[in-house]
Structure formats: C-alpha cells, structure tokens
Amino acid sequence: MLDYIISKYNFWIYVVLMMIGLYAMIGKKNLIKKLIGMNIFQSAMILFYVSIGVKAGATVPILSGHGHGHVHEVIEVAKYLNPLPHVLMLTAIVVSIATTGVALATLILIYRRYNTLEEDEILKIRKDTGV
Amino acid sequence: MDVIYSSRPLWAVLVSMIAAFLILATGEKNRNIRESWTIMAALAKFLIVLSMVPVILQGKVIEYTIVTFYPGLLLQFRIDAFGMLFGVIASSLWILTSFYSIGYVRGLNEHAQTRYFFAFAMCLSSTIGIAFSANLLTFLVFYEILTIATYPLVIHSESKEGIMAGRKYLAYTLTAGCVLLFAIAAIYYMTGTLDFKAGGFIAGSGSSAVLIMLFAMLIMGFGVKAGLMPMHEWLPSAMVAPTPVSALLHAVAVVKAGVFGCLRVILYVFGPGLLHDLGIWLIMAYIASFTIIVAGFLALGQDHLKRRLAFSTINNLAMIILGAALLTKSSMTGGIIHMANHAFMKITLFFCAGALHVKVHKDYVSQLDGIGRQMPLTMGAFAIAAIGLSGIPPMSGFISKWFLCLGALEANQIIFLFVLMTSAMLDVAFFFPIIYNSFFKKPLDDVTPHFDEAPMFMVIPLVITALLSIVFGIVPDAFFRFFSLTSLAVQNIMGVG
C-alpha cells in the first residue's frame, strides 16, 4: 500500500494542488484570489503533464556531444526523457500566461468601474444602481 | 389504379401563394390591383382544380412529388376522389368569398386590408395543399402552415378580445400540432411509410394498445381544428374575426381541414377494418354524438349570431365524423357528402351574418326582429340555408342526413338515429326563431321598413350559395360532381377494407 502511494506520489501532489486551485476559483469571493486559484490550477496541470514525461534513469532530452553534423551511433531511447509533454507544456504555459493577462485586463476594467474587486460588494453596487 | 404524373396539383397550391406575395407587394395604395390579384388567383385555382375532376372521376389519381427527404418520407401530392372533393369545395367557395370579402372590408373600411388578403390567400393555398397531400407528413406541413396563416385573420381586429382569441387559437392548434408531430413520427417509425391508402395502411404494425393510443393522438390533433368536444373552445372565441373569415375558414377551410384530417385518419390511415377490430369506432361515434347534442344545446343559448353559427358548425362537423365512425357504406357517403353540403349552407349563413353586420351593425339574434323586410334577399338566403341544415327536403342537407340515418340503421345502432333526430330538432329550435322573428315579428325601431340591402358584392355571393344548396338538394351531382366523387371515394375505401 505504502509502496503504491509512493510509486505515484507525483499524481497525489498534482491532484492536491489542482484541488486547491479549483476551490479558490469556485469558492473565493475576491476576484484576484480567483485568478490566483486559476494560476495554481494551471500550474498543477503543467506539473502533471511534465511528470508524464519522466522516465526512471533518463536525462534531459538534449543530445550531448552532437552539436553539429550527423549522428551515426544508435540513440538509446531509454536514456532520454519523453520530450513531447514538455513541448505541450511550453504551449500550455503560454496559454496560461495569456489567459492571466486577459483576466487581469478585465479586472482593471472592473476596478475602474466599481472601485473594488470583492464579488459581493460589486453585486451590491450593481443592485443599488438598479442594473 | 392509374397514376398520372402532373404538376397541376402544385400549381393549384402555388397560385394563391404567389398571389399572396403579389398582394403584399402591391400594398395598400393600389387597392384595385391588389383585389384583382385575389380574384384572378381564385379563378385560376378553381379552374386548375376543376380541370382535374374528370380525370379523377375516371378512377385515376394524379400525383406530384415536390421533394423527397428520405425514402418513404416525402412531400407529395396525390389527388384521389376524397381529396378532390375537398379541393373543389374550398376552391369554388374561395371565389365567392373573395368577392364577398371585398364588399365586406370596403363596406366597413377595415384596417390592414393587405395583411388580410395576404393571409387569406395563404390559407387557401395551404387548404388546397391539405386536400391534395399524399401522406401524413405533407398533410402536417400544410396543416401547420394553415394554423399560422389563420392567426393574422383571427387577430384581425387587433382588439383585446381579438388578441385573446388569437392566443387561445394558437394554444389549441399548436399543441395539437405537437401531438400530431409525435404521432406521425411514431407511425413513420413503426411502418416506414406515411402514404394514405384507402382502407388504411397501419394494420398489424403494432400492438392494439399502441394503435389505440396513436389513434387517440391523431384524432386529438385533428379534432382540435374540427372543433370536436371537448377541444372546441377556441372556435366560438375566434368568431371575433371578420365575417368572411368566419365564413370561409371557420365554416369551410380550417375546420373542414380538421374534419378532413379526422376522416383521413379513420378511413385512410387506420381503415374501417382495423377500427372495427380494435373496437374504437363505437367510442369515436359516442364522442361525436356527445359533441352533436351538446353543441346543439349550447347553440340554443347563444344570443350572438356568429357564436350560434359556430356551435352549429361544431354540431355539423361532429355529424360528419359520426358518419365516418359508423363505418358503413351509407354513413360514409352521408358524412363525406355532408362536408360539401354543410360548406355551402354554412357559408351562406355566415355571409348573411356579415351582411347584417355591415349593413345594420347587428350581431345579436335578439336584434333581428323584422329585419327580413329591409333585407329580404339576405334573410331569404338565411332561411334556405337554415332549413337545409335542419335536414328538410328539398335542400341538400336532407340528402346527407338521409344517408347518415341509413348508415346508423345499417350499423344496427339505433341510438345514433336518435342522436341525428335530436340534432335535427335542435337545428330547428335554434334557427327557426331567427327566421320567424326576422320576417313576421314587428320591426324594431331602427329597422328601415323598405328594401335596403347590403352592398351587391356581398348579396350576390350569398344568393348564389343559397341557390346552390337547393340545387344540390335536388340534383346532388350537379356542377361539381360531388356525389360521384363521394361514391368513388367510398368505393375505394370499402373496396379494400
């Protein structure tokens, strides 16, 4: 049992992180906190993906000593990590940054209009102004 | 059976649809041109329909496929004797109603006349579509178009009452449309076809419980428009519509479409044999009888002339359904021929009510004392039609009632004979006081004691329809060959079933 838990501890960690983020996104009233939750959520996802690429006993997927020219000897697959998840996560990181940027921009808009970023206060202001 | 492929059915439907858009394009400014579209379309439609009658009488059918959706699922016209009969009724009466409408709306200086004529033409287009449709899907398509096209006519007055009536009308008919859609989809799923077939096509495709449920749904769906009780509520309310609308649509096109649908279901989807086996014909007949009697009594209680006529319509339509439900040769003949006879007589009555409304602004039965002296032609026509509806010879109503009674005897159901007798008595009870009062009672103060009729545009059509109801009483096969068509239709059904 313990062995089982340890053998997959990467998953436990990312699940816990992700749930923290998810809870912040759904449960928090402050919009900035929601945004932070979103970032935690996405980071957890990135961790998850990157951990898929891990192979025991392998190293980073960069060929050493083959800076230029062709390779003649056979490359051992087991020696290098799986590069694909890393690639995917480079894209996902960019996406997450872009999303954060857009979200921050909307937060600026919201703050300009209501002078607060607390969800219930905004709701109250909107109710009072009769919208 | 010989099948002739021809695009004439399509043109019969399209001609008034095209006219509808021409009317819309012409608009309020050029009234005379607009009205000429209506009349031209009416004449053209009638001629197209009439030109097909001889072919049908030779025992052939005319077919035209508009579009195929799926194998076995298509929009198609197929004209058989039964559809032809309905087509002839609707298209011939449209001409008269067109003239009458012109007199009516101009006489009252109505608003939104363009919309009125547009919707009218659309209604006729879909009515003919219903008459000629070859399968349930086509039927449903035109049936729904008819529902929508009638709506602007029901709410024509744009008064609160009118809008409420419109809502009620839509509530009833659209719900019915949904029920129909479901039932028809289920039939298609079960049988893979929707084509009408004399004597029915659905037998053996499902358990009897399912078939009975489908039958109930279909009759409910079509019965709403036919004013079958207890789904009749919208019809008297819809009498707020202008009188030509009530005349053509609530006496001929719309409600007849409902009855036509019921008959199609009874005779061409389920078929006499199956209904007999399932034993629902008797229930159907009882429902119809119930409607006949109750509507008769309710009519007695109405003071508003058009509402009284509306209940009389419900009463007569139920009689048609009763004829079909009894499943004997004579009763079917009586029911089908009554579709034609009732149409001519009832339209006369509505025309008269409209003439009264336009000329002397009287809508209530109690206001009609002595009006016969002022408007003898109108009230004379009224008398003829009323007598006819009560089933007194030599008017055409007698013929249909005769066959219906014969049918009741053939079916060994004496009780329905009594129903028919009671109904005739009720007819007498709610029509004869009107005739008596208008001719023999001392005129009310506001009645002009000398001859002063409604506009000729209105009087001539109603005189023609009144005369026709006498002619059909004496020579049932005159002009339009209604009788031959009827017997041909019955032959087709009985030949198979």
């Binding site: 998810l22 898929i52 998840p85 995917l88 999303t99 919208v131 | 608003h111 709410i155 949904c178 799923y189």
Partner: protein, 499 residues
Amino acid sequence: MAEQFAALIIVVPLISSLLVPVIGWGQKKLCYPWVVAVLVVPLICSLGILNTVLTTGKFSYRLGGWAPPWGIEYAIDHLNAFVLVIVSFISLMVAIHSKKSVEKELSEKTVPFYTLFLLLVTGLLGIVITGDAFNLFVFLEIASLSCYALIAIGEEGAPIAAFNYIIIGTIGACFYLLGVGYLYIATGSLNMADLANILPDLYHSKVILVAFAFFTVGIAIKGGLFPLHTWLPDAYCTAPSAVSSLIAPLMTKVAAYVMIRLMFTVFQPHFSVEIVPVFAILGWLSVFAIFWGGIKALAQTDIKRMLVYVLVAEVGYIVIGVSVANRVGLTGAILHIMNDAVMMTCLFLVVGAILYKTGTREIHQFRHLNKKMPFTMAAFTITALSMCGIPPACGFFSKWYLIQGTIEAGQWVWAAALLCSSLINAVLFFRVIECAYLKPMEPAYAHNAGETHGEILRDEAPFTMLVPIVIMAAGVIFLGIFSGKIISSVIQFAVPASF
C-alpha cells in the same frame, strides 16, 4: 487543390488578422471591408473542402509534412467539412452585419475589434478542422481568449460577466486538457485517429473512464449545457451585438461538434453508450436545460436575454440528439447544429438591427416595428416560426429527426420535452410578434381604421444589416425545404459509420 484549401482556411484569417492593425493604422475605415473580404476566403475554402469530401471521401492534410501521429494533421471528413461551411458562412454574414453596430457601439475600438473578430473565427475554424487533440486545445484557447475580450467591452456589467466566463471557461478548457493528458498517459498518442485505433483495447481502464468524464464536463462547460451554463446568459447578453451574434450561435455549435467528435469518433459509440451511462445523464440534463431555458426565457423582458435563454434550451436539443445515440437522432443533432446556427444568427442579427435603430431591447417597446422595419420583422417572424417548429421552415425538420430518434430510443420524456419546448417557443415568440405587430392599440386607432392616423414612417435597418438578415431568413426556409437533400448528400455520411 483541396489540400491547399485546408491550409488556407486557417492561415488566411490568421495572417489577415495580423494585417488588420497595419491597415487600421493607416485608415480605420478600411478594416471593415478588409475583414469582409478576408472572410470570403474561408467560405470558398470550406465549400471547396466540402466538395472534395463529397466527391473523393475523407482526406487528411499533414502540417509540415510530418506523418501523424508524430506531426499534426487536419483530418477532414464529412462532419467537419459540414461544420466548417456553417462556421465560415455565419461568420461572414455577421461580419457584413457588423459595420454599423460596431461604428455605433465601439467607435474608437474598431481596429482591435476586427483583429479579434478574425482571430475568433480562426479559432473556431481551427477547432473544427484539426485532427489532433492537443491542437484542438490551442485553437480553443485562441477562440476563448478573443471571446473573453470581445465580451468584456460590452455594456455595463460586461467585464464581470467576462471575468466569470474566463474563470469557468478556463476550468472547462483545463478539464479538456486533463482529459487529453489522461488519454496520453494511457495511449501515448494525441492524434484523434490514432487514439480511435488504440482506445478499444483499453475501454475498461479507469484512466480512460476518467478522461472521458473530464472531456464531457469540459465540453459541456464550453457549450453551456445545463447545469454548467451559468456563465452563459450574462456573458452573451452583455456583449456588443456584433459579438453576441457571432459567439452565441457558433460557440455552442462548435462545442456540440467537439462533443460528437469525441464521443463517436475518438471513442467508439458502443463505449459511450454501453460502458459509461453518460448519455442517460446528458439526456436528462438536456431535458432540464430545455425546461429551465424556456422558463427563464419566459421571465425576460429583454429580447436579447430571452434569446440567450432560448439558446440554453437549444443546446439541450442538440445534446438530446446526441444522447439518443442512434442514427436518426444523430442526424437530427447534426442537422440542428446547422439549423439552429442559422436561426440563432438570424434572431441575434435582427436584435442587433433593432437595437441599432431604436436603441431598445425591451420587448414591450417594440410597437409599430412592423411598420418601421418591415423586412427585419418579416425575417424575425419567419425565424420565430421556425423556432416553433412550423414547416416548411428548417426548425421543423430537425425536430422531426430528433423526435424520431427519441422514439427509436424509447425515451418518451425526452420526446415530450422537445414538443413542450416548441410550445414554449411559440409563447415566447408570439409574445414578441404581438408586441411588434399588434400593439398600436390606442383607442382612437381601433375606429379610425389606420387611414391617416399617426403615419409611421418606414425606418428600415441599413443595407449592410438588412442583407445578411434577409439571407439568413431565406436560408431558414431553404434549408427546410432542402433538408432532405442536405441529409442524403452530407449528413448521412457525417454520422459515424459504426451506427
């Protein structure tokens, strides 16, 4: 030729979106004609693709020449060729329509608006055309990001709606990505066709089950399926009218497409039907969606808000078609993707035109609209009738197939929900029609028969708005009449072969 079409359909709007700021820098007014001209290209391309698919069958386009599953491919079959045509056609129509309303609502933001507009279209097209699960996510994000921003510049309350959308939309997208990750762990592949080959052996793996669950939830969020639709009404309603007429019809439909793609081609239908009871759940949720959307719509006085709730119900329609999981139901669902896209676009365009002309969206202020804007209102009426399922408009036919599907599946309640929803729609739309056509009921009017009383001048929407509206309304009728043709030539091949 078709391969070039497949490449161009994404690249042209993408590159053109880079050029919009350049063009707008010189002359702002040129943005609009540029965008319209550019959007003609995807339409032509998609028609070319559809034509190729119809004549030679499905094909794939390898980006960079790398063979799948190592590289990314566009896998084009009947289903996505069909959806591509819908997306590109509707985006063109909305672009044409947008001229005046953008000038009025967003006058100083024309340039970035049109840039994002093109990017949004690119994203939607990319989602539909791609054959790679991760690539789909990237395009989903392009579409979503532009969506968020376009919504945020709407009326009062739009930024909050947009922020909520960002949060929930990100959850949706991330759930999708989690699903992809789980599939990748179990299979090692990202290519949809490759996944479809590998998956059948793994159907009983828990990883696959979880992946499937996350896919479903993620897509349901993006498509606004009840009860995950909570972000949708505010977001779509507060957006500028040009934006809502683009995203309201298309976002939900594209999500529905992704759902069909994942459930029936990546996973085999028998997995989605037998191993996971997902369709029972989805079907019942759709029933709730239909009723909830309908009832909420009844409570609205603002026509745009009403339409948005109707949209929630319409999503339910499509999902019911998917959930019955039989051939005819799915045909109905795919048909309804097209029909509903056309109808919804038409309705939103009409609302945009009315808002532009009269400045109001309140239904009770629609008096005399039939006189002021006869063509717009005629288009509205036709589409409204189609929404109520009146033949021969297209709404009737999708309803027909959907009901056939429910009957075949023996789901009577679902069928009843579909039927009830047409009645609810009838109430909704006839209420509007009554207000627009019949409300001139001042007491004086009733007698004076409208001869000269209160002459109402015609004040029709501008030409650029009217043209797409009329085209869409005509489309509603034509798609209805030719639905048989469309089904027999396209949709029946689009339904996955395993049915």
